[in-house]
């Protein structure tokens, strides 16, 4: 058999996995795409092991190891997704923005509305001044189309922006699921709090 055939099939599978990771919003679908990429690697390993006639069977043994690691990865990934769903009531990747940089994510709206108020009191001076300098000399028309798209997803971030605490933008997404189910959330909050802290 020509080695090109499995190599091309695995290259195509890998590209499809790349597309899935980049284009999907549901976290479980992203995990499936990661599995596709791992399988592309596996096919390559097996094909080259057969081609090179490895006496130690390194390729096929490594394929078995990759399969085991993929199983462990899926187990942990699903546990993380379930913890995420428990806290946020969503597995939508586009809504999970609390780890995003708040200075760059919501800068266009805050720079337009409360430019003078938020700039001196913002406590991320390493990230803010280049962005402020970049947005102030007349780039508001270029940044303005990104404003409505960002306020739709990060609407909870923008009111908390003049509150001048750096940890503030990561807090507002949390009370929403608790407010949705307050009776069971209070009991969950006490035991989930120390677990989330590290």
């Amino acid at each position: 058999m020509h080695v090109v055939y499995p190599a091309v099939v695995s290259a195509l599978l890998f590209s499809i996995g790349v597309y899935g990771v980049l284009a999907r919003r549901n976290t479980i679908l992203v995990l499936m795409s990661v599995e596709l990429m791992l399988n592309a690697v596996n096919l390559n390993l097996v094909a080259f092991d057969v081609w090179l006639r490895d006496r130690l069977h390194g390729g096929q043994v490594l394929t078995l190891f990759v399969i085991v690691i993929a199983a462990a990865e899926v187990g942990l990934g699903l546990a993380i997704i379930l913890a995420l769903y428990r806290n946020r009531r969503t597995v939508d990747l586009d809504r999970l923005r609390s780890l995003a940089e708040p200075a760059t994510a919501t800068l266009p709206t805050s720079a337009d509305s409360s430019h003078a108020g938020s700039a001196p009191t913002a406590t991320t001076p390493a990230a803010l001044p280049p962005d402020e300098a970049a947005s102030s000399p007349g780039t508001e028309p270029a940044l303005a189309p990104a404003g409505p798209a960002l306020t739709s997803t990060g609407s909870a971030h923008t009111p908390s922006r003049p509150a001048r605490t750096p940890a503030e933008p990561s807090i507002p997404p949390r009370p929403r699921p608790r407010a949705g189910s307050p009776d069971s959330a209070e009991g969950r909050r006490t035991d989930a709090g120390p677990g989330e802290a590290p």
Binding site: V18, Y19, N26, M32, S33, L64, A79, L82
Partner: protein, 178 residues
């Protein structure tokens, strides 16, 4: 690494492999483009099954059966459980794709073009006559337990750690819901 025969006269193995590869690639495309979450998991089963067939054609029997057992039997079931536990909508949902889909398509097509070009250019002359028995359980077992014992043991510890981690991560879920 003998002299390669022509691409225009494919052998039976190559035809079977190409058909299985086409099934794998097509079902993988459906996995990343379908609008129904459960269908994506089921197409993943088809993709993994076709890949197991590819391994069988490549004389890697043991890997093929491990693929069927672990991927189709365990991982897809785990993914289906994840779909169920996150209360995903069963039917057709419109918001499975993120708005940066054209960018993702461009990146994926560029990746595919680069990889296929490089691979075809690099391995055009490579040819392997398939001989059965190279990937049997006997061969692989003796290889693992003679030469790869330390990675095997380390991997078992890793798997144990991952299982304990998964249990710890998801145990508060059980307590919180009841």
């Amino acid at each position: 690494m003998t002299e390669a025969p022509s691409y225009l006269s494919p052998s039976g193995q190559e035809i079977v492999f190409l058909l299985l590869g086409a099934v794998a690639v097509g079902s993988a495309l459906l996995v990343v483009t379908t609008r129904q979450l459960v269908h994506a998991a089921l197409w993943l089963v088809v993709c993994f099954g076709a890949l197991a067939g590819c391994y069988l054609v490549l004389t890697a029997e043991f890997v093929a059966w491990v693929q069927v057992l672990i991927y189709v039997g365990a991982i897809v079931v785990l993914l289906l459980f994840g779909i169920m536990l996150t209360r995903a909508p069963i039917g057709r949902t419109a918001d499975l794709d993120s708005p940066n889909r054209p960018t993702a398509a461009i990146v994926a097509i560029a990746t595919a073009a680069v990889l296929v070009t490089v691979v075809v250019d690099g391995f055009r002359m490579a040819y392997v006559p398939l001989e059965p028995g190279g990937g049997s359980a006997r061969e692989l077992g003796s290889s693992i337990f003679r030469n790869w014992v330390l990675p095997f043991e380390a991997l078992s510890v890793l798997l144990l750690a991952a299982l304990i981690g998964a249990i710890v991560l998801s145990r508060t879920d059980i307590r919180g819901r009841d």
